[in-house]
Symmetry: C2
Subunit: 327 residues, 2 copies
């Protein structure tokens, strides 16, 4: 079997999924594509810079408009993305297109300066709801890490950049277990108050369920954070990501994070992060009659191609079904 789009167009061209809108949902959802950054960062294999550049180009051709492309963290921490400075010039043609957003992750002020030098127009910072993960990932308390972001966010905003605030462990934590709604809401609200233009609520270990999602969103909007400034970032570790997404859409969320082909979530790895696959998300959104701008066939072919680069099948159910790949 090949992974050409022409090889698996039958279901899509036959009019499936059938679009049947559900009352109360947004008419358009912006997908924040994290495969090139969050996905590749969590893959065992390191991908060549040229392949990454091609990947981002193919994602843009498939109609994705927000593509997080890399991270300016220290190479010792994330060797998979050590080539950020080499990658950015290869994306110059995309960066010149005003309709495309190509955010990069920056861990601190130094990362921000490197990003600014390379002409980046949108950044993301990465915080934690829980002390355990803040210590493990950032070697700081939650309060210290938020304080560290304050000047970074302020400087970025002064430079006219959009700033996304990722918040991890919003629902559960591998050390602490369940995360109280009030605690996650407090940290998320703080990111918003710091000046983040968007706060992405992360279920890093994939344990959330729909009622928990609704409770956190309601707590945040009741506390003054507008729903239009919130995004959701679900992991499919326990298969819950799309049900959680549906609940978030019903509460008015219009930005959803996903990873092409489920990159970063190898189904067999013990450490699977289990990113929601963009294709599975797009299938649901298009079935609900919600516009995404994405060409599902092209996206699926791109993910099948990237799976070949990584030498393992995509964990996305939709990619597998559309490309009919045997083991």
């Amino acid at each position: 079997m090949t992974s050409d789009a022409t090889d698996h167009g039958s279901v899509l061209s036959a009019g499936l999924p059938m679009a049947v809108p559900m009352p109360g949902l947004p008419g358009h959802v912006r997908i924040h594509e994290v495969g090139a950054r969050d996905g590749l960062q969590n893959e065992k294999s390191t991908v060549a810079t040229e392949v990454k550049a091609q990947f981002v180009h193919r994602l843009a051709e498939a109609g994705l408009t927000t593509i997080e492309v890399t991270s300016f963290v220290h190479p010792t921490w994330v060797p998979q993305l050590a080539d950020a400075a080499e990658l950015m010039p290869r994306l110059a043609d995309l960066a010149a297109r005003p309709e495309l957003r190509l955010p990069v992750l920056v861990p601190n002020g130094r990362g921000l300066e490197r990003a600014l030098e390379l002409g980046v127009r949108e950044i993301a910072v990465f915080g934690s709801s829980t002390e355990s993960f803040a210590r493990a990932n950032l070697n700081r308390t939650v309060a210290e890490s938020l304080a560290m972001f304050e000047p970074v966010v302020a400087r970025a905003r002064d430079e006219g950049l959009r700033v996304r605030g990722y918040l991890s462990m919003c629902f559960g934590d591998p050390w602490e277990g369940p995360v109280p709604v009030a605690r996650a809401a407090r940290a998320a609200r703080r990111l918003y108050e710091l000046g983040c233009t968007e706060v992405s609520l992360g279920d890093t270990i994939g344990v959330a369920t729909p009622g928990h999602v609704v409770a956190l969103l309601d707590e945040l909007t009741a506390g003054g954070v507008p729903i239009g400034h919130l995004a959701v970032h679900f992991h499919d570790t326990y298969g819950q990501a799309l049900a959680n997404t549906l609940a978030a859409l019903q509460r008015g969320v219009g930005v959803v994070d996903a990873s092409a082909g489920g990159l970063g979530g190898c189904p067999y790895a013990k450490s699977a992060t289990g990113n929601l696959a963009t294709e599975d998300l797009v299938w649901m959104l298009h079935g609900l009659g919600i516009e995404t701008g994405v060409d599902l066939d092209r996206l699926s072919a791109t993910s099948a191609w990237m799976a070949e680069q990584l030498g393992r099948p995509s964990p996305s159910r939709t990619v597998r079904a559309l490309t009919h790949r045997e083991p």
Copy 2:
């Protein structure tokens, strides 16, 4: 790694998923477990009768109360379940427990008589929404197959049996593409009018999305079929099963079909049916604070054990996450 429950209890015993109810959902859901019949019927390997009997016993020990155990179809059609008459006596201890329901599939009057001889108290018949599938699977038109069921259902009801009516291809069909809501509703209503005590709406090729599910349920209830007589049967071929389940719960559905470990849905097979895994369903239901009576640890250990019998990993994301199985 072993598959003992003691080996993977950390997440569950740490209080995850955290139970956060969502307004408007039922407090209890009855899971109709189809792994032993629908699951094994669609697996390449044929499982020994003794293993099947042990499987059903373990499912009951895990707290499942409705376990579809086999099918009385002709062995030529479904060789995997040719041992129905040998299996039933091995389940006599379970059949004696009044709280347990052990339905069997019967294709026709002859199958019903065999089931009655063996003391079966609940049967299921299997119809189609679409002409293409009715012809392929039953070699009849939709109307002819429904007419064939009429005396079977009547005789079963006369004998005091519960009768479930499966309806396949309710949302999409591999030959016909999208299935109009009115067409699926007409066939489902006919099954109800024939005397089926429960009609299970099947998304046989897994293409449904939540708005489509709601539209079909609304059409049926508006047409006089009470929601309490409807069950949903989703496949995870495109990863949509749990989001669809959530939408059905929001409409008041209280019976959900699922297959332990996702049996019948090998993730790599071209012909994957992609049954919703019972464990993924239970994770969501328990997270929503909905009672199922199921011990998720025991169920997951059972599915890991059955995966060993079949010589391949479970496609259930929850089973994989809870049992941390490397390839």
